[in-house]
């Protein structure tokens, strides 16, 4: 039994009341901008409407479509737009406000961005994960912009005494073309605020052919200049008067605790002010801190030096024997026996028995650490029953809830200020570091910054799971695949929330296992049990990484066995253009999206394969020692295909001369940032394929920094990465971008290595395997 049956509730188990009414009080707190919209009209929540439905309303607190929450216009015409999601490099802090500006007819040079604090009642869901921001907010943001525009037009029409239908907002002004009159937004702001907020259903949205910003890609990130001059503010850059600097020695084994400690030597370190034990929660406990011993100092350097001088005896607890080599063997053993059937079409057993040829392969992917360049860090200032937090959190609303619960104070008393995130990749969806800061600030009665070192980040994180994927493919005499059995074994993220989770949750099964799109008569997917021995968490694209690696490697293995071209084999398996029916899957997660709006459409998967093959020159002749590989995968309801060219020299040195990727992410907002996300996904994909592994011995992570947990560097990076964005139909719903680029990379790379060398790699990372 899975503990979590509804993945939408994963942020916590106990909450999730969908809020239908936004309280007047919370709205009236408003933006607090002088001269902004005066909030006079009655307030009500406005669920979005659109030609297509999304899962946005099912997220905690859904969406809020209200221009008075998101837009303020000052008398000087400066338009302030609230960014309510977290910026971690995807460009969301630019892209969502840009959607509002588009519909508002605002001139982008006169737009300013204000980052929302954590408040989901006011702003709607703020969980910046799951590649959801554009797909959930394209329509609500358009409606917010259109609503504000309508209010400005109404105010101008009233002032001129003409029907509203005769006026039109154009580039920061409202124009009455019949009389040639025009008024700037700034002059209209006060009157516009007196207009009632129009009904969402009656809003006129712009014709996409009139878009100035959406889909164009000419606008740079709003933080670009600050980043290049060093003023962009990340979590660690927050400084408060009287702030103490803390680092914490945490239990090296998940579930361990402090048995005893001696802080005398640490106290002698210059700058160290205090050593104290901090509270931990027994594992598993969602995002609660691990506890340990904190060193408080006047600067971070002193705190680290003090921590080095601590003497701690740990009680390792039940996971003290976790060992990666043995655990892999356990997973492999489980994968070789029947497991919980999670998808079943036809009779796979009989089809495998009757097959002319059966190809079997097992693929292994180790734990991977997120290793965002900014390690976890947070500042907290707790005074009495009030708490203020500053930090790089992906989930501002969730952080607020968890801080309130941990401190035992009302949510209304917690303010969460979201800084820029120096990378997130899912790690910063977990707010344990903010909770640590809150607890320490309460204890010390002073503002505290908790800084994680790189070693803390790698050793005490929420790792990507570890997995064995076993696929058996049965072929008939003609080489057609008639049977496909895929067993996927990996400890579940659910194990971080509650004890006893032995099976993958629907949201994990739905990432490349049960949603496998091939047209095969007999398909069975199974999920044998696996018990977690450390904290498992979301890592950019999550279970799609091992699944795409296995499935897309298998495609090339079948192509080789039947002497066919990889791309032709892939298209044959994808089969006819159709909407895939998955009647046997009990809980098809589908990334939280309704299947009607976001079905598995093999025509779109075929299209990206054909697009990348065409643009990327599939089948071109390459020099000796080079090879081409291809892979395609649907994830986060987007379709993506990648071709990698590798070169392997006679010593086994791997280089990547060229990468080509095609993505179909539906209607898109900011193609420049899509390109950068896909370029980056190639680097992350290559990094995890070449180097990425976190391993355990005696329950402890064996790596600690970039020397033994290397990330890809520029001198190993692809010489060229080309990105092609498939044109979308006018009503195609937007889909994910931040994560989908990662999964197809590793299999395309591995398939290319096979083409170049004849060596088939089934366990990542590649490490020294090519040198043998």
């Amino acid at each position: 039994m899975n503990i979590i049956t509804n993945p939408k509730k994963l942020r916590g188990f106990e909450r999730y009341v969908k809020v239908d009414n936004v309280s007047r009080r919370s709205i009236l707190k408003g933006l607090g901008l002088a001269g902004g919209f005066v909030l006079a009209a009655p307030v009500m929540s406005r669920p979005g409407f659109a030609a297509y439905k999304t899962g946005a309303g099912e997220m905690p607190h859904g969406t809020v479509v209200d221009p008075r929450v998101f837009v303020a216009i000052a008398p000087d015409g400066i338009v302030t737009i609230v960014a309510h999601r977290a910026e971690m490099g995807t460009g969301v802090r630019t892209s969502l406000p840009m959607i509002v500006a588009e519909e508002l007819e605002a001139d982008w040079t006169r737009v300013r961005i204000q980052q929302a604090h954590g408040d989901e009642v006011k702003f709607g869901n703020q969980d910046t994960d799951g590649s959801r921001s554009t797909r959930h907010y394209l329509i609500p943001m358009r409606q917010i912009g259109a609503s504000a525009r309508t209010m400005l037009e109404g105010a101008a029409a009233k002032r001129w005494g003409v029907p509203a239908t005769e006026v039109k907002a154009v580039n920061h002004e409202v124009v009455h073309s019949a009389s040639g009159r025009r008024i700037g937004f700034g002059d209209l702001a006060a009157d516009a605020a007196k207009q009632s907020v129009p009904s969402v259903e009656g809003l006129r949205l712009k014709d996409p052919k009139d878009f100035r910003y959406l889909g164009k890609g000419q606008i740079s990130m709003v933080d670009l200049r600050d980043i290049t001059v060093g003023t962009a503010r990340y979590g660690a850059d927050v400084r408060l008067a009287g702030m103490k600097y803390a680092v914490i020695a945490r239990p090296p084994v998940t579930g361990g605790k402090v048995a005893s400690f001696d802080g005398a030597a640490a106290m002698k370190v210059s700058g160290v002010e205090k050593v104290l034990e901090v509270k931990g929660w027994p594992w598993p406990s969602k995002f609660q801190p691990l506890g340990g011993v904190a060193v408080i100092a006047r600067n971070t350097g002193a705190a680290i030096k003090g921590r080095d001088a601590l003497k701690i005896v740990w009680d390792d607890g039940a996971n003290g024997k976790y060992e990666s080599v043995a655990y892999r063997a356990e997973l492999e053993e489980a994968a070789r026996k029947p497991g919980l059937v999670v998808r079943k079409e036809g009779d796979v057993e009989a089809a495998l028995k009757g097959a002319d040829k059966v190809i079997v392969a097992e693929y292994y992917l180790p734990h991977i650490a997120h290793v965002a360049m900014e390690p976890p860090v947070a500042v907290a200032d707790v005074k009495g029953d009030k708490a203020e937090i500053w930090g790089p959190v992906q989930s501002a609303g969730g952080t607020r809830e968890d801080v309130a619960k941990t401190l035992g104070i009302p949510q209304e008393n917690v303010t969460v200020n979201v800084t820029l995130l120096g990378g997130g990749f899912g790690r910063k969806s977990k707010c344990d570091f903010a909770l640590e800061a809150a607890l320490l600030s309460k204890e010390l009665g002073a503002p505290v910054k908790v800084q994680w070192t790189r070693e803390d980040d790698i050793r005490n994180g929420f790792l990507h799971t570890v997995s064995v994927e076993r696929i058996e493919a049965g072929l008939d005499k003609g080489g057609k695949v008639t049977a496909w059995r895929h067993r996927s074994v990996a400890p579940s993220i659910a194990s971080t929330f509650a004890a006893g989770a032995l099976h993958q949750a629907p949201f994990e099964l739905g990432m490349g296992l049960v949603d496998m799109p091939f047209e095969i008569a007999n398909v069975q997917c199974e999920n044998p049990e696996a018990a977690a021995r450390t904290r498992i968490g979301w890592f950019r694209s999550v279970s799609n990484i091992p699944r795409a690696f296995a499935v897309q490697s298998m495609v090339a293995e079948i192509a080789h066995a039947t002497k066919r071209d990889q791309k032709d084999m892939l298209l044959e398996l994808i089969g006819s253009p159709r909407i895939v029916k998955l009647d046997s899957v009990k809980d098809l997660w589908n990334y939280g999206e309704p299947y009607d709006s976001y079905p598995i459409d093999t025509a779109r998967l075929r299209k990206v394969v054909e697009l990348v093959a065409d643009k990327g020159g599939w089948g071109r002749s390459v020099p000796k020692g080079h090879g081409l590989g291809i892979a395609a995968h649907r994830s986060f309801v987007s379709y993506i295909a990648t071709i990698v060219e590798v070169a392997v020299d006679d010593k086994g040195k791997l280089t990547v001369p060229r990468v080509d990727t095609a993505i179909d992410c539906g209607t898109y907002v900011n193609p420049e940032r899509i390109q950068s996300q896909i370029e980056g996904a190639a680097i992350m994909g290559l990094s995890l394929a070449k180097h990425g592994a976190v391993t355990f011995k005696d329950g402890k992570v064996q790596q600690g920094n970039f020397d033994d947990c290397p990330l890809l560097r520029i001198d190993e990076s692809p010489a060229v990465t080309n990105v092609y964005i498939a044109p979308a139909g006018p009503d195609t719903p937007p889909s994910g971008v931040g994560e989908p680029g990662v999964p197809p990379f590793a299999p395309a790379l591995i398939n290319a290595i096979f083409a170049a060398t004849g060596k088939r790699i089934r366990a990542l990372p590649i490490g020294k395997q090519l040198e043998a």
Partner: protein
Amino acid sequence: MITLKINGAQKNWDGDPDLPLLWFLRDEIGLTGTKYGCGQALCGACTVIVDKQAVRACITSVSDVVNRDVTTIEGLHPTGDHAVQKAWRQLNVPQCGFCQVGQIMQAAALLLENPKPNHDQIREAMAGNICRCGCYQRIENAVHLASTGV
């Protein structure tokens, strides 16, 4: 008492002479542009320029830079318009941006030493700076652009 010269200004320190320059800059004098990434000179996020050379501030103690000119991102150019900074903006290099200060300082130091680096020299000089978002293609192009005129 140690006196340091940071971006042309004198700064005094009477604490631990072994304190890494990084934490002096960030925590003691509030120059937070320089970032912590690893603490072991493995990632380059903390790169500053000492005299004319790129140096990792995380393993350089304050006493090591007495009587030397330390330049941080805050002092790289008075209006933030160093050729490298301009090239970075022109090519929209950053994603999350956290490593970019270190990348920019490293690139600026490279151009001091070699004003026209080729492809391999750029890759070699920038290989100590990790970018987890994977902006390498744009970093390489931006260093090239900065060296040829923005």
